[in-house]
C-alpha cells in the first residue's frame, strides 16, 4: 500500500520533449505539506506543472491515491486535486463568488447549474479564507492578497484531497503571506488534505513544511525534513550564495561583512549589539565585536557581519584570555562603542572592558559616533 497520496515515480520532466529533471521520486501524505524550494529557474514550476498534467511527463508516472494519473478519468482527478497557479485568470464580468463557484465544476450536471448544496459549499469555502465580505465584488477589482485567497477558496470548493500551489505567496505583503499559509495549515489539520507548494520565502518554508524538496541545477538535490534541509551551509550552497550568509535558525539572511581593519570595537550582548552592527555594515565601516558568549542573541549577526569577533563558549564566564584578546582588538580599532547597559556575573568581563575604554578615552557614544557620519 502506497503511503503517499501523490507519489512521483521515476518522473522525468521537461519542455518539448527535452528532459530537464530526471527520475524524480517525491511523495506527500494526506495531512502533510510538501514544499519545493530552490533558486529561480531551477525547475520548481516545471515539476508542479508536470504533476498537475499541464506538462506531459517525459517518463515515469505520478500516482494519485495509489493509481497512475494517466489511467484516471479527467473527472476523477478533478475531484481529488485542485490547483492554484501563477497564471493570471481572465475572469471577465465574474464576481468573486462566481469564481469560487467554478470549483464546483467536477460535481455539477451537464449544464453546470449549482444546487443548494453547491452554494453551501461555496459559502463555506469563502468563510474559510475570510473572503465573505468581498464575495459580490468583481474578481478583477480586488487586491493581490484577496485574489490569492479567493483562488484558494476556489480550490477548497473543489473538495480536493490534495492542493497544488505554485508560489502562492509571491507579491503578497507579510500579513497576507501569513494569512494564506495559516489557512493552508488549517486545511491540512482539519480536512486532512495533502498540500504541495513552491515557496521563495525560506523562513516560511521552514515553518510550515513537513517535507522539503530542494531543486537546483536541474536536479532534485534533497528530499528531506525541514530540520535536515535548513542548515546554513546547505542553503548557502543550494542557492549558490556568493556573498552574505543565511542563518538557518532564524531563517534570515545577512549581507556580506565589511572587510578590512576594524575601525570600531562594539561591546554587545543580549540583542543590544544587533542594531549597531547593522548600522556599521550599512555605512561600510569594518568593526570588531565582543565579548559574546556563543549562545548570545547578538552572536549570529555578529558572526555574519563583524570583521573580527571575540567570543567565549556558551554559558561560559568571560575569562582573562578572552579579555586579553578583546583588549588587543580594542587597541587596534582605537574606538569603542558599548551597547550594553546592564551587567551581571555573566558579562562582568564586558564591564571591565568598558571601564578601561572609558579610562583611556576610547569610549564613544554610539549616537554621536553614528550621527557624525550622517550627511
Amino acid at each position: 500500500m502506497n503511503p503517499f497520496y501523490v507519489h512521483t515515480q521515476n518522473m522525468t520532466v521537461g519542455y518539448d520533449g527535452v528532459p530537464l529533471i530526471r527520475d524524480i521520486e517525491i511523495g506527500v501524505r494526506r495531512g502533510e505539506i510538501l514544499t519545493l524550494i530552490g533558486p529561480n529557474g531551477s525547475g520548481k514550476s516545471t515539476i508542479l506543472k508536470s504533476i498537475i498534467r499541464q506538462l506531459k511527463l517525459l517518463a515515469g508516472t505520478v500516482a494519485l491515491d495509489g493509481r497512475s494519473m494517466a489511467q484516471l478519468k479527467e473527472g476523477d482527478i478533478a475531484r481529488r486535486m485542485a490547483i492554484v497557479m501563477t497564471e493570471r485568470i481572465k475572469a471577465e464580468l465574474m464576481t468573486c463568488y462566481d469564481l469560487v463557484a467554478t470549483g464546483r465544476y467536477p460535481y455539477t450536471g451537464r449544464l453546470g447549474l449549482l444546487t443548494q448544496e453547491d452554494h453551501r459549499i461555496v459559502q463555506e469555502a469563502l468563510l474559510t479564507v475570510h473572503a465573505q465580505d468581498f464575495a459580490d465584488r468583481p474578481f478583477t477589482a480586488i487586491s493581490d492578497g484577496q485574489r490569492q485567497r479567493l483562488l484558494l477558496a476556489r480550490a477548497i470548493a473543489q473538495e480536493p484531497e490534495v492542493i497544488v500551489l505554485d508560489e502562492p505567496t509571491s507579491f503578497l505583503d507579510i500579513r497576507h503571506k501569513l494569512e494564506l499559509l495559516e489557512i493552508l495549515k488549517d486545511l491540512v489539520r482539519t480536512r486532512n488534505v495533502a498540500v504541495i507548494l513552491s515557496l521563495h520565502e525560506l523562513d516560511l518554508a521552514q515553518k510550515i513544511s513537513d517535507r522539503v524538496v530542494c531543486v537546483a541545477n536541474n536536479a532534485v538535490d534533497r528530499y528531506d525534513t525541514p530540520e535536515n534541509v535548513f542548515q546554513s551551509d546547505y542553503i548557502e550552497a543550494l542557492y549558490g550564495m556568493k556573498s552574505g550568509s543565511y542563518n538557518a535558525l532564524f531563517g534570515s539572511m545577512e549581507m556580506a561583512p565589511v572587510g578590512g581593519t576594524p575601525h570600531i570595537f562594539v561591546i554587545g550582548g543580549g540583542g543590544s549589539g544587533i542594531p549597531v552592527y547593522r548600522q556599521l555594515q550599512r555605512r561600510g565601516i569594518p568593526f570588531a565585536a565582543g565579548i559574546l558568549q556563543e549562545n548570545d542573541l547578538d552572536y549570529p549577526v555578529a558572526r555574519a557581519l563583524a570583521a573580527e569577533l571575540v567570543t567565549v563558549p556558551p554559558f561560559a564566564i568571560i575569562d582573562g584570555a578572552a579579555l586579553d584578546r578583546a583588549r588587543k582588538a580594542m587597541d587596534r580599532a582605537g574606538r569603542v562603542i558599548c551597547c550594553v547597559s546592564r551587567f551581571g556575573p555573566g558579562n562582568e568581563g564586558n564591564r571591565l572592558l568598558r571601564d578601561e575604554a572609558e579610562r583611556r578615552g576610547l569610549l564613544t557614544d554610539s549616537g554621536a559616533l553614528l550621527g557624525e557620519a550622517e550627511p
Partner: protein
Amino acid sequence: MRGKRARLYLGFAGLVVALLGLFVLNVNSGSVSLSPGEIWTILLARGGDNGAIVWNIRLPRILATALLGGALALSGFLLQTFFANPIAGPFILGISSGAKLVLSLVMIGFLSRGVAVGSLGLIVAAFLGAMLSMGFVLLISARVKRMSLLIIGGVMIGYICSAVTDFVVAFADDANIVNLHNWSRGSFSGMIWENVGVMAGVVLLVLLLTFFLSKPISAYQLGETYAQNMGVNIKAFRAVLILLSSVLSATVTAFAGPISFVGVAVPHIMRSLFKTAKPIVMIPACFLGGGVFCLLSDLIARTAFAPTELSISAVTALFGAPVVILVMLKRQREQL
C-alpha cells in the same frame, strides 16, 4: 441575486420583442409597402394580391437573415472564447474570406461546366475554406501571445484570400461574375426556401450542441490550466470548438457571403446588456442578438436608399466597427 435574475428575464424579453418587431417591419417594407393587416391576412391565408412577394421573397429572406445573424454572433462568441481575445470574430480572423475563396473556386468550377451545386455542397465547400484559414490562424496563435498580433495575422489572411478570390473572379464567365460579385460583397438577397431549410437544420443543430457545451466553455474561460484541472479534456474540447465555429461561419458565407463585424460586436453588446460572460446565458443571447442585429442591418440596407440596395456589410460595419473601437479603448483603460 434578484437583480441579476430580473436583468436576465428583461434582457431575453427585450431581444424577443425586438426580433418580432423587426420581423413585422421587414415583412412590411420594400418596394411594395404592406399594412400590418395585409401581412396578417397573407400569413394566415397564404394568399392575397401580394402573397407571392411575402411568401417567396420576404419571408425566406427574413428567416435566413435571423438564422445567419445568430450563427455569426455565436461563431464570434466561440472564437473569442477560444482565443481568449475580445476582438476575435469570423470575419476579422479571415475565416469568412477563406470560406469565400474556396466557395468561389467551387462555384466557378461547377457553373462553368453547367453543374448546379446544392445548399449542402456549398456549405461543405465553405467549411473547407474556413478550415483552411483557421489552420493558418491557429499556426499564428501558437507562435504569438499578443492579442493584437493574432488579429493582424487574421486580417492579413483575409486580405490574401480576398485577393485570390478577385483573381479567380477575373477569369470567370461574365454571367457568373455578376452573380458572384453580388454575393462576394455579402448580401441576404435571393434566399429560397430550400436554402432556409438547410441552414436552419445546420445552424440550429450547432446551436444546440454549443448550448450543451456551455459548462466546459465556462471552465475554458478561466484558462486552459484551470479548465484541465476541472476535468475538461482540453484537446477534444478545442477541436470541437474550432469545428463548431467554423461550421457556423461557413454556413453564413455559403449563403450570404462574408459579413463583417457581427461576430465581434454582438457578443460584446450582449455582455454589456446581460452583465455576464456565462456561456449558458451568452449562447442563446448571442444567437438572438445576432438575429436582431442582422434584421435591423438588412432593413436599413434595403430601405435606406431604396430602390438601390446597400451591401449588408456596409451597414453592419457602420454599427459594428465602433463597438470594436469602444471595446479596445475600454480594455486599454482597464489595463492602466
